[in-house]
Amino acid sequence: MTSKYWLFVFLVLASVSVLALAAQKSDAPVTASTTKTFVAAKRSLKQQDEGQRVFQQNCSRCHASPEGFSPRISGTIVRHMRVRASLSQHEEEALLHFFNP
């Protein structure tokens, strides 16, 4: 009876351990992925904000924003603005991200 009892306890503990290990293994990538996604989203939002700031502080001082344009020319527009408005490379990148979030 005692040995059966200890065998039962051992099996339960083993099962729980295996399940816990399995759960840990399957949880690990999900947690890392979620963190990465969160960080990327946060960075993206920050760049978006900065791009909007660059647009408001540099482009819209002279002209209104054109009502929509093809994303195919957004890089060309940004490069033109970099020269015309004396933007730094960092501001150019932020502006490009603002046009193509």
Binding site: H63, I73, T76, I77, S88
Partner: protein, 354 residues
């Protein structure tokens, strides 16, 4: 239209078309290495009118702008003006006389050397004060007329042939400093007329205050060498649609200033509401003659002028510009009425990679 009529470039349309075709050829060789870098065609098309002493002149105009990136560091860009003007025949005759103008405003190649330094070569807009580089496109300016002091510092042609170094020297969250320095050579080529001269501009911008101040200087290095000085202040208070722009210019024989304010209200549904699209504009300007030599394009006598404008920013990139100006001078006072409609276009030059 003074910035156009004061332009001393030749009006040879044949050569202009050759230059435009050449420019198009350059753009056609551009390869877009990135999906977002397809060459573009932008610009404005409009019909402008001005009524001076009861005579109305009509100006159909197209100002195309082409920009083509080449690789990661080069941009080739050009702007042209194609203008026809219809003005009443004088001496009591019926009907209209007309003349046309086709010319390149600039054709330049830009090389982004470092994050803070860009080299520009070719025919470029002279970076003296702000109006020439920022506000001359018809789809940007609030008035058809350039300010009276516009010719000061532009070396008679508003564009130079040579090179510019420019960029953003320091860029911080609280301030940034931009600079440029140019050298222009003398050229009598029909589409690239320029004068020998050199100069530059430095500007300080405070993003939190939305305040910009700058200083310009240049020197004409041919004929009678002359110096020109300029200063500008721009201010756009945050979270408003109010803009204040001003410039001061001084040459060897005259000086002057202009101050322009425009406003769009956010109170009735934002800028895209019917009320929000209305834009009242006010510009005050004065010029002062320092001696009797009139070689700089400014009025021959001290002049005061007030321009009252009312613009409407329609949907689909259309602007309606109207203004009334009263000019006071010892040579005579007069009124100028101006109206115009301008369409701003912007599209890829061809179908690029998706």
């Amino acid at each position: 239209m003074s910035h156009m009529t004061s332009n001393s470039k030749s009006r040879s349309s044949a050569r202009s078309i050759i230059c435009l075709v050449f420019a198009m050829g350059v753009f056609a060789t551009a390869h877009s290495g990135f999906a977002q870098q397809t060459p573009l065609i932008s610009g404005g098309a409009g019909l402008l009118t001005d009524t001076n002493n009861g005579n109305t002149t009509y100006y159909p105009i197209i100002e195309p702008l082409l920009a083509a990136p080449i690789g990661k560091k080069v941009l080739v860009e050009s702007r042209a003006a194609l203008l026809e003007s219809f003005s009443p025949k004088g001496a009591g005759q019926a009907g209209y006389d007309h003349s046309h103008f086709i010319g390149l405003t600039f054709l330049q190649g830009d090389y982004l050397a470092t994050p803070n330094l860009t080299f520009v070569g070719g025919e470029f807009l002279i970076p003296f004060n702000t109006y020439n580089e920022r506000l001359t496109p018809i789809w940007i300016g609030n008035y058809q007329d350039a300010p009276l002091i516009f010719p000061l510092g532009l070396l008679s042609s508003s564009s130079g042939l040579g090179g510019v170094v420019r960029g953003n020297a320091i860029s911080r969250n609280r301030y940034s400093i931009n600079y440029n320095y140019f050298y222009s050579t003398r050229s009598g080529t029909e589409q690239f007329t320029s004068h020998r001269g050199t100069g530059g501009r430095v500007g300080l911008y405070l993003p939190e205050q939305r305040l910009e101040a700058g200083f310009s200087f240049d020197r004409l290095l041919q004929g009678t060498h002359e110096n020109f000085y300029g200063a500008h202040v721009w201010w756009e208070p945050k979270d408003t649609a109010f803009r204040l722009r001003s410039e001061f210019g001084r040459g060897q024989h005259a000086e002057g200033y202009w101050v322009e304010a425009d406003y769009r209200t956010l109170a009735f549904g934002g800028l895209d509401s019917i009320i929000g699209r209305i834009e009242p504009v006010l510009r005050i300007q004065q010029t002062f003659r320092l001696d009797t030599i009139v070689s700089d394009g400014l009025p021959p006598a001290n002049t005061q002028r007030v321009d009252l404008g009312l613009d409407y920013n329609s949907p689909h990139n259309i602007r309606i510009l109207t203004s009334y100006s009263r000019q006071f001078s010892s040579t005579g006072n007069h009124n100028v009425w101006e109206t115009g409609i301008v369409y701003h276009f912007l599209f890829p030059a061809w179908k690029g990679k998706e």
